[in-house]
């Protein structure tokens, strides 16, 4: 039987692969047969991800994506060693939970640098012919906060909304070249980033918030990883420039 999500003989770069959604995506893609290149700052934690993966030929590529200006050269050199990529998953990101009055330029720029500019630099380098295969796919991990309003999330929302708008125009531009680019927009998912942000809410408030906003409750990283795998695979070959909400019904209300 054919598996429309199969990723055999495909090479995919996953950023943010040391935790949360990126880690889950890397593991799932390996189970689907892909060769995965894992990127994050922390090599030890990338090793933990690698230890949970299946198959052979995976590779660690630790890098600090905050060094945005160095991304093009880093990625081009990396691909000289790995061969061209079939897919790119931009899952590295930082959370920001603070009242708008406290969002100064330095904070807004830091959030944009990691959440937006790094993804733009990665996608811009990925679309070069020597970096990717003719039929390839980029998945950007945005957020429901990029689709609707959430208090104390303005800087974060801005960065995620920017990703969504970027993906649409890039998708139109890159379609003739065979490159698709889509976003997933996760709702509240149980990840370390989420746990760290939600330390700022009491457990009772957190539970009430999730119940009120997501009819299907709190998501798991694997719920989002499944959507990422779909958007990377040939099963989504006619989909580009889209935003797939993976949010337990958050945006349905």
């Amino acid at each position: 039987m054919t598996n429309p999500l199969q990723m055999e003989s495909k090479t995919v770069l996953v950023t943010g692969a040391s935790s949360g959604i990126g880690q889950s995506a890397a593991i799932l893609l390996s189970q689907l047969g892909a060769r995965v290149i894992l990127t994050a700052r922390n090599q030890e934690r990338l090793r933990e991800t690698l230890g949970a993966m299946e198959g052979e030929g995976h590779r660690l590529a630790p890098f600090d994506l905050g060094r945005v200006e160095e991304i093009p050269l880093w990625l081009r050199q990396l691909v000289q060693e790995t061969g061209p990529l079939d897919g790119l998953v931009c899952s590295a990101g930082i959370s920001s939970l603070r009242p708008l009055r406290m969002v100064d330029t330095a904070h807004a720029e830091e959030v944009m640098r990691i959440n937006y500019h790094a993804a733009v630099a990665l996608a811009s380098t990925f679309c070069r012919k020597e970096v990717r295969r003719p039929e390839s796919s980029v998945v950007l991990v945005a957020s429901v906060a990029g689709l609707l309003g959430v208090a104390a999330r303005s800087a974060y929302s801005g960065s995620k909304g920017a990703l969504i708008a970027f993906a649409r125009s890039a998708a139109v531009e890159l379609a003739p070249a065979g490159v698709r680019i889509n976003c997933v927009a996760p709702g509240y998912v149980k990840t370390e980033m989420h746990d760290s942000a939600m330390r700022e809410l009491s457990p009772e408030k957190m539970e009430a918030l999730v119940r009120a906003t997501q009819p299907l409750g709190l998501g798991k990283p694997l719920d989002v990883a499944h959507a990422i795998a779909f958007l990377l695979s040939g099963a989504s070959r006619w989909i580009t420039g889209s935003v797939l909400a993976v949010d337990g019904g958050y945006t349905a209300q």
Partner: protein
């Protein structure tokens, strides 16, 4: 920890005139001490004092000096 400087930062957080917040001020009586201010407080102490505080501990505080003690006792990042 310089408590006077801490009180001034609380004034700034709550958009109150300098000198409004006192150590003995009850949080429940402070105008604008609400859930958004709690989030702002967490961001402020992270930036200014390098400490990461859970909301639960903050919500258990009754006075501004309780908050000051929480910050003073928290491990620095």
């Amino acid at each position: 920890m310089n408590k006077d400087a801490f009180y001034l930062k609380m004034d700034e957080l709550l958009e109150a005139a300098a000198g409004t917040v006192q150590g003995s001020s009850a949080l429940a009586n402070l105008e604008d001490w609400n859930s958004l201010a709690v989030i702002g407080f967490i961001a402020m102490v992270d930036t200014e004092y390098g400490v990461s505080l859970p909301a639960k501990a903050i919500l258990s505080c009754r006075t501004v000096d309780d908050l000051a003690a929480l910050v003073a006792e928290a491990p620095r990042a």
